[in-house]
Symmetry: C2
Subunit: 419 residues, 2 copies
């Protein structure tokens, strides 16, 4: 017997037939003898409808009232799922954020979970009842309804799993696992059997949007084993003995054979900016990036070369293309203060990254990447590295070519037991 958290997103509970399908997945685990907590999102489209209503009522609205309105979506889906389970003969009850309680900060509409009381949930398990928990919502210290921000149900699921000491948290989604890269670009992409938290964080934040980044961070901190698996699979399909049919995201100690490169990630819609002739003095970077942060511009890669003349230097950084106009507005305001000569902007860039924990103990991984891109005639604009990844910025037109070439070069096209 294991204790499981099963999480289903909005598409999985999008209509009554799908809710019944979710109930059948839960029933399978209950019949296998497991204690189950289910975390669900609002029915697909419902959160957007509610958000639309709040916008129609008032352009600027109180985030506390926004949370009251939008959290109604999960309230509906937990009630319906509990009913569907009961209808199949599975004992179940719904839990709203305030009932458990899921205690959060009071940063409304982007609250962080601070504590989850496990007591009531544990009592449910003792009575053999499935706990159907509303994702995305919580309770602030002063008794108001909070929400975690879009996609927060993944985080709710991991936090519940940590609180009740679950053996695993299964995230049911529209893909059957995490792949070595996007299969739409590389049909030979392989499903990973296991991937470490650190690698998943690099993959997720680089655009492989299977899981909310915060949920992976939380899983890493609390060492919650996370599985990404498909909700479209038939509930009565044969199950693996260890319960792993998708991709397990876990501590690297659980991964025997650590690949040098586990996956190739990419992010399009990047824009590059270069400030030419910035005077090279202490605090200069803070003077540039402070105002950008204040304007909520999310700066990604930053490169600054040594000063050739000892007086001025060039600073290059990337932002999401959507944020380019806002970024330029901030930068132009700074020109007088910083006294740089000129701003060069290059839109339509892509960031290509190789990710792998094995990289830490292997030399020459980055060099191989540069060589392969050079062989394909792809120019590298910016390079940025961390312990377990190397990212390069290239013209967006080369995205597919670069991803395919790297995927093949690091041996990811081969049929193999991944992880």
């Amino acid at each position: 017997m294991a204790r499981l958290v099963m999480k289903f997103g909005g598409t999985s509970v999008g209509d009554v037939a799908r809710i019944r399908n979710v109930a059948a997945h839960v029933q399978r685990e209950v019949e296998a003898g497991h204690e189950v907590a289910v975390v669900v999102s609002a029915m697909s489209g419902e959160t957007n409808r509610l958000v639309g209503l709040t916008r129609d009522v008032a352009q600027l609205h109180d985030a506390r009232e926004y949370d009251v309105v939008v959290s109604a979506g999960e309230q509906v889906s937990v009630g319906l799922l509990a009913m569907a389970l009961q209808d199949m003969g599975v004992a179940a009850r719904s839990w709203l954020g305030w009932q458990i309680a899921v205690q959060t900060s009071d940063m409304h509409s982007a609250a962080r979970i601070e504590h989850i009381d496990a007591e009531k949930l544990n009592a449910q398990f003792a009575e053999g009842r499935v706990a159907v928990i509303a994702g995305f919502q919580g309770l602030s210290a002063n008794g108001r309804v909070t929400t975690l921000g879009r996609g927060g149900s993944d985080t709710s699921a991991v936090a519940v799993a940590a609180a009740i000491g679950a053996d695993r948290c299964d995230i049911y989604t529209d893909v059957d696992g995490v792949y070595t890269t996007d299969p739409r670009i590389v049909p030979a992409a392989q499903k990973l059997e296991r991937i470490s938290y650190e690698e998943m964080l690099e993959m997720a934040s680089l655009g492989a949007k299977v899981l909310q980044t915060r949920s992976v961070e939380l899983a890493m901190v609390h060492n919650v084993r996370l599985q990404v698996r498909s909700s479209f699979e038939a509930p009565d399909a044969p199950q693996a003995e260890d319960g792993i049919v998708g991709t397990l995201i876990c501590d690297e100690d659980e991964i025997m054979e650590q690949e040098i490169v586990s996956g190739i990630a990419y992010a399009r819609n990047e824009a590059k900016l270069t400030l030419l002739g910035v005077s090279d003095r202490p605090g200069m970077a803070a003077q540039i990036f402070g105002p950008l942060a204040d304007a909520a511009v999310n700066v990604d890669m930053i490169v600054q070369n040594i000063s050739a003349d000892g007086q001025t230097t060039d600073v290059t950084f990337t932002v999401s293309q959507d944020e380019l106009p806002r970024t330029l507005a901030v930068i132009k305001d700074l020109q007088a203060t910083l006294g740089f000569d000129k701003v060069l902007e290059t839109p339509d860039m892509a960031k290509i990254s190789i990710v792998g924990i094995g990289m830490r103990s292997h030399a020459g991984v980055a060099q191989k990447m540069f060589q392969i891109l050079a062989e394909k005639g792809i120019n590298i604009h910016v390079i940025s590295t961390s312990e377990i990844k190397v990212s390069v910025l290239v013209d967006a037109d080369y995205t597919e070519l670069a991803v395919r070439a790297l995927h093949a070069a690091y041996g990811l096209d081969d049929e193999r037991v991944a992880g």
Copy 2:
């Protein structure tokens, strides 16, 4: 300065424009210096949509989960109304049933309010903030969400008014008050300025469906002054000095000139049943009406004459026409036990009632009714009386004729200061 409860139903908050209109009504009272609590229903159609979802998921469902699902409707409308008020510069916050808390019995989907904590609401008033309260929902002793049954928001409003000691509870609805009879039948029907709780109860339960009966009972018990007024009136229309623009439902002591007959009520779709030759022995009535009550048949009028032969008697009673097949099924099962000869059923009857607290101190009121109906050639099938009303059962075809004749005969057609 007064303390007011304002209640708005689903039609009044049916879309964003109407929610803003409600906010304007509230703003008017706040600007007049009053402390205001607003009780709202779900946006019209929303509760039906949610109920439909529960039916689609499971035919037989847990009423506790049903309550979780359907109470989401009011959660949305309170959040939106609080936002609309803030947008107009009126300080406001939403309150869900569990936040106040509105403590109820655990009879899910038909819970009764047991207690409302006034402490948090009073603190709101002290801070000059409007309390926007979700109607229809409450919290059971074991922390589950409950609902009061359809139309329960009227009851919520009255209970809140009693708890916070409100000077008045204004029910905004789609009519501008309580009339001496249905204006669709008698165009000369007058709007009543005041009506006693007792009269309103007789009018409401007899088919003048302006207010939920339970809310009037509760108002009577706690002596909450209730006003029925129109939500379609322009928010900036001139207001009466005493705030009464519709009909005030109050203690009879507040009504100076007590009319002998305040109104004429009617209910169509009644069916009459007569059991012929029931053996006349003690306990016979219980043997008939016990099984009907068990089958949830709502029996209205009951007439039993004295036994002519000392052995058998005839029993006549009325039920709603919709319940006729169910009633007949129960009665036929009883024939063997009770040994009556025959059942006569007469569908398509109407109950016509005259209601007035002045009746208690005036003789001949019923006699006048019988005489007027006789003059019009209307046959009376059954008569039933209480202290403040006389009801007769007639063929439904005569409904309009009877109501018009009685309305005129009791002087209700005249232009007058009612109440």
